[in-house]
Amino acid sequence: MDKVNGNHDARIGFYVCHCGHNIAAMVDCTEVAKYVGQLPGVVLSRDYKYMCSDPGQELIQKDIKEFGLNRIVVASCSPLLHEHTFRSAVEAGGLNPFFFHMVNIREQDSWVHTDRAEATTKAKALSRAAVRRVAHHKALEVKQVPVQPDVLVVGGGIAGIHAALTLAKAGKKVYLVEREPSIGGHMAKFDKTFPTLDCAACILTPKMSEVGAHKNITLWSYSEVVKMDGYVGNFTVTIKRKPRYINEDLCTGCQECIANCIYKEPKFTDEFNEGLGKRKPVYIPFPQATPQVVLIDPEVCLNFKRGVLTDKCKKTCVEACGEKKAIDFKQKEEFREIKVGTIIVATGFQTFDVGRMPQYGYGRYPNVYTSLEVERLVNASGPTAGDVVLRDGRHPKSIGIIHCVGSRDRNTNRWCSRVCCMYSMKLAHLLKEHTAAEIYNFYIDIRAAGKGYEEFYDKLLEEGVHFIRGRVGEVTDWAFIPEEEGKLVIRVEDTLAGVVRRIPVDMVVLATGLEPHADAQSVRRLFNMSCGSEGFFLERHPKLAPVNTFTDGIFLAGCCQSPKDIPDSVAQAGAAAAEALVLIDKGHIEQEPNTAHILDDCSGCKSCIPLCPYTAITLTEDGKKAVINEALCKGCGTCAAACPSGSIVQDLFDDEEVFSEIQGVLAYD
C-alpha cells in the first residue's frame, strides 16, 4: 500500500554547475550529469560552468521551450544563496517557479570534502533525490502580504541616529527607541574623532537635535523593547518606557530643578563621565542630551528610599519647576504597543571589562585608566574640563597606552576590535597635546587600514610618540631600581628589539576592546536573530547580505553586528535604511508558499491545534474539522508532521516530496 507513486509525465531538466573550480575541483560534474541523464523522467542533463550567470539562466529558459521540460533541478550552491535566482529563471522560461528544486553540492559537498570520488557519489545521490522529488512538485502561488510603512530603530547611537534620520527624511515614520536617558551612544562621550580630529560633539549633536526635532521621528529614550511578534511587514512590538519621574511633554529642559535640588553639591557617580564626575539625584546626563529632559534617580533621591516613594523630601525641585509641573514622583513605567513593517537593530557594543585582566592592575592602581575614561578626561566638557589630572592629583609626565586589552587574546576575546589602534593613537595625540608627557604605545600590530589612517600613524611617529611592539605582561608598582619607585612599571617583551623592558610611567591607559552587550543573547531572541560564536549579531551573508538578518524585515547597523569605526557604522546604517525602504516602497512582501493546509479527510481530532505557535489552526464552527489560517501560518510544518491521520499537507515539503527525497538519497546505483 505504498502511497508514494511517481509522476509519470514529468519531463525533467537537470543542470549541474561547475561554479568555476569551486565545485568542479572536487566533484566530477560531467560524471554527475551523465549519471542523472539516465534516471527515469530526466529528459535532459547538462553540466555548465556558471549556472547563476545570465547565459546559465537563459540556457534553462531555452531548454524549457525547446525540450518541453516541465521540471527543473539545478545542482550548484546553497539554496539559501541562489534558489530565488533559479526560480525566477524557471518562471521566465514559462513554468511555475516551484516546479524547481535545488541541490547544494558546494557549501555542503565540494567545499567540505577531500575525496573526489566520495564527493561525486554524494553529489549523485543528492541529485537523484532532487530529481525524484521534483516530479512531485505542485504549481504554487507566491502570496503577497502588505508591508506596514512605519519603521522601528532600536538603539540611539550614531548608527541608530543615522538610520532614523535617513528614513525620516525619506518621509517614513520612525520610532527610535533608546535604553539610556539620552541618545548619542558611545560617540557622545568621545572628545575628538580619528583621523581628522574633528570634535565628536560638533558633528554629533546637530544630528541629535535633528532627531529630537524631526516630525517623522518618535523618540522614546529611557525605553526598552520587551516583546516582538509578527513577521516581516507586520511586526507588533511592545516597548517599555521606564519612569524618569519627569513628564517629558511638560519639561522644558530649564534645569532649575537641578540647581535647586536639596543636594547643594553633586555627589553621586556620574555614569556618563564613567564615574570620574558626580551628579545630583535629579540630573541631565550631559549638556547636549537629547531629549533635553531631566530625570530623577530613585535610588538616591531623598524623596525615595531604595526606589520606593516616601514623600519625605522637601521637594525644592518641585518648587523650582513651579507652574510647569513637570515633576511627577508617581510616574510608573508604561508599555506602548506599535505596529511596524521593518526593524533596524543598532544596539551597539559594550567595552571590555578590564577586571578580567587583573595583571593590568585596573582598580588596584588608581592611575590605571580605561580608554573611555580618558576620553572624558581630555574632554573640554568632561569632569575636569579637559585637565588631565590623575586620581592622585598629579599630572602625568609619562603615559603608557596598552593596546588590544580584551582583543586578539585567546584568554578573553579573540577578535580584533578594529578601532583600538586608531583611538589609542588619537588619545596619544590628545594626551601629548594636554600634558606634553612622554607617551608609549604598546601594540601587537598597528592596524591603520582606512582613509587617512596610515597617514595619522605617520603623523604620530613624527610627533615623537613611542611605539613598542609587544604584548604587555603586567602593570606593577614594585620598583626594581630607585628610578622606578612610586611609578607604575609596564613589563613587556619588545619583540622588535628582542629584549624584555620595564618602562616606568605615571599613567596607564588600557585600550579596551569592543564586545557584544551582556544581554545580546536575550535581544537576539527578542528579534529572532542569530549570534556569531563571538556573540555579535549574525548577518544573513557575510558578503552579499551584510545588513540583513535571517529574519526578513530585520536589519543590522553598527557595532552590534561587529566592531566598527564611525564611518563604517554610518555607512551600514544607511545601507540598513535603504534595505528597509526597499520593502516599504515595494509595499508588499512575497511569502514563500510553504504554508500548510488541512484536507477534507480531517477527523477533527484536534491534535494539531495546540501545536501551532501562531494559533493559525482553529476548529470549524460545527467543530467537525480543523482549518488553517494561511495568513497566520509561517510554514514550519510541525502540524503536518504531527497529524495522526496524515490529513495536513505542507506545500513545498509535503510527505510524498520528502519521502521521495529520502528514497532518492538512499537508492543504490
Partner: protein, 311 residues
C-alpha cells in the same frame, strides 16, 4: 574528609618542615591523610625537561596507585608535584600518543589509570573543603598584627589556574587573614623564585630570589609565607650571598617613606610555609611545626604567646 597523600621527595627532605606543619594542621581540622603506598618520584625536576612522556609515566604510576587506593582524591602539597601530576592528567586526556605509552608502561606493572583521580593542593582543600569558618573556629592564638607577604610561586597557578586566579591568587591571603595576620600588598606573588637556576646559573637565579625578599622588606613584611619547598629553599638559603652582592642597596623605609634604609640588615626575614603560620595560630609550638629548621628560624610572635587568645 580523607585524602590520599603524595609527599614527594621534598617534604621528606629539604622541605620536611612543610610536612611537619601540614600533618598536624590538617589533623587538627579533621582532615585524614593516607600516604600513598610505594609512591615514586613525581616526575618533576630534570625528567620533564629531558623526556616529558617518561615523566608522565612516572607521574601516572602515582596516580594509578592513588586510583587503586580507591575513593580518595590525591593531595600533593609540593608545587612541583602538584603541577606535574596535573600536567600528566591533561596530557593523558589531550594526547592519545602519550596515553598509549603510559598505559602500556602501567600495564607492565599491572596498573591502570582512568585519568580521573583529582589532584588537590592543600590551599584548595583548606579554603574550598574545610572552609575559612572552620579554620577560624580552630584558632586559639591569632597572629594579630603579624605582617605577612604572601608568596605563591609560579607552579600552582601556571600554566593551569586550577583553583585560584592566575595573575592575582588570593587563597593564601584569605587563609592567613582568617588567623589574624595582616597581608601586605605583594605584587610579586607569582614571580619566579629562581627555581633550579640558583644551582645552575647562580647570577640570575639569585637575583630572582633577592628581588622577592627586597620587595617584601620594602612592603614592611615581618615574614614571607610560601607554599613551595623550592621557593622556600631559594629565599631562605642564600641570604649571605645576596647580602654580599646587594647588601648596601637602599630602599624607602616602609615605616617612614621620607627616609631610606639599606637592604642588607633586613635580609634575614623568616621565610615559612603557610601551614607553619596556621600551626602557630592553632597553638602548636615552634618545634612541632619545624620552625627551627629555617636558616632564619621564626619565633612565635609575641601576640601569639599571650595565652589564651581572645578570639
Amino acid at each position: 574528609m580523607k585524602y590520599s597523600y603524595f609527599p614527594g621527595c621534598s617534604l621528606k627532605g629539604t622541605g620536611r618542615a612543610y610536612e611537619e606543619s601540614l600533618l598536624p594542621v590538617l589533623k587538627a581540622l579533621g582532615v585524614e591523610l593516607e600516604e600513598l603506598d610505594d609512591w615514586n618520584c613525581c616526575g618533576a625536576t630534570a625528567y620533564m625537561a629531558v623526556d616529558e612522556v617518561k615523566a608522565c609515566v612516572m607521574a601516572s604510576r602515582n596516580l594509578a596507585i592513588a586510583e587503586k587506593a580507591g575513593h580518595q582524591e590525591l593531595l600533593a602539597p609540593c608545587s612541583a608535584c602538584y603541577l606535574v601530576l596535573n600536567k600528566t592528567k591533561h596530557y593523558l586526556h589531550e594526547s592519545p600518543v602519550v596515553e598509549a605509552v603510559v598505559q602500556k608502561a602501567l600495564h607492565q606493572a599491572n596498573l591502570t589509570y582512568s585519568g580521573n583521580t583529582p589532584v588537590r593542593h592543600p590551599l584548595d582543600v583548606l579554603v574550598n573543603n574545610v572552609g575559612i569558618d572552620a579554620i577560624k573556629k580552630r584558632v586559639t592564638q591569632p597572629l594579630k598584627g603579624l605582617k605577612v607577604a604572601p608568596y605563591y610561586g609560579c607552579q600552582i597557578v601556571r600554566p593551569y589556574a586550577t583553583f585560584d586566579d592566575q595573575y592575582n591568587p588570593t587563597t593564601m591571603d584569605r587563609l592567613l587573614e582568617a588567623i589574624g595576620c595582616t597581608m601586605v600588598t605583594y605584587p610579586l606573588k607569582t614571580r619566579c623564585c629562581g627555581g633550579s637556576l640558583t644551582g645552575t646559573l647562580p647570577e640570575p637565579g639569585l637575583l630572582c630570589a633577592y628581588v622577592l625578599l627586597k620587595e617584601a622588606i620594602a612592603r614592611g613584611a615581618d615574614v614571607i609565607a610560601t607554599v613551595c619547598p623550592l621557593c622556600q629553599f631559594n629565599l631562605d638559603c642564600y641570604r649571605d650571598k645576596m647580602a654580599s652582592k646587594w647588601g648596601d642597596e637602599t630602599i624607602p623605609d616602609p615605616r617612614n617613606p621620607a627616609a631610606r634604609i639599606s637592604v642588607g640588615p633586613q635580609l634575614n626575614m623568616p621565610v615559612v610555609y603557610f601551614t607553619q603560620l596556621l600551626g602557630l595560630a592553632f597553638g602548636f609550638s615552634e618545634k612541632e611545626l619545624g620552625l627551627h629548621r629555617g636558616f632564619t628560624p621564626m619565633r612565635k610572635p609575641a601576640c601569639a604567646r599571650a595565652q589564651p587568645a581572645a578570639a
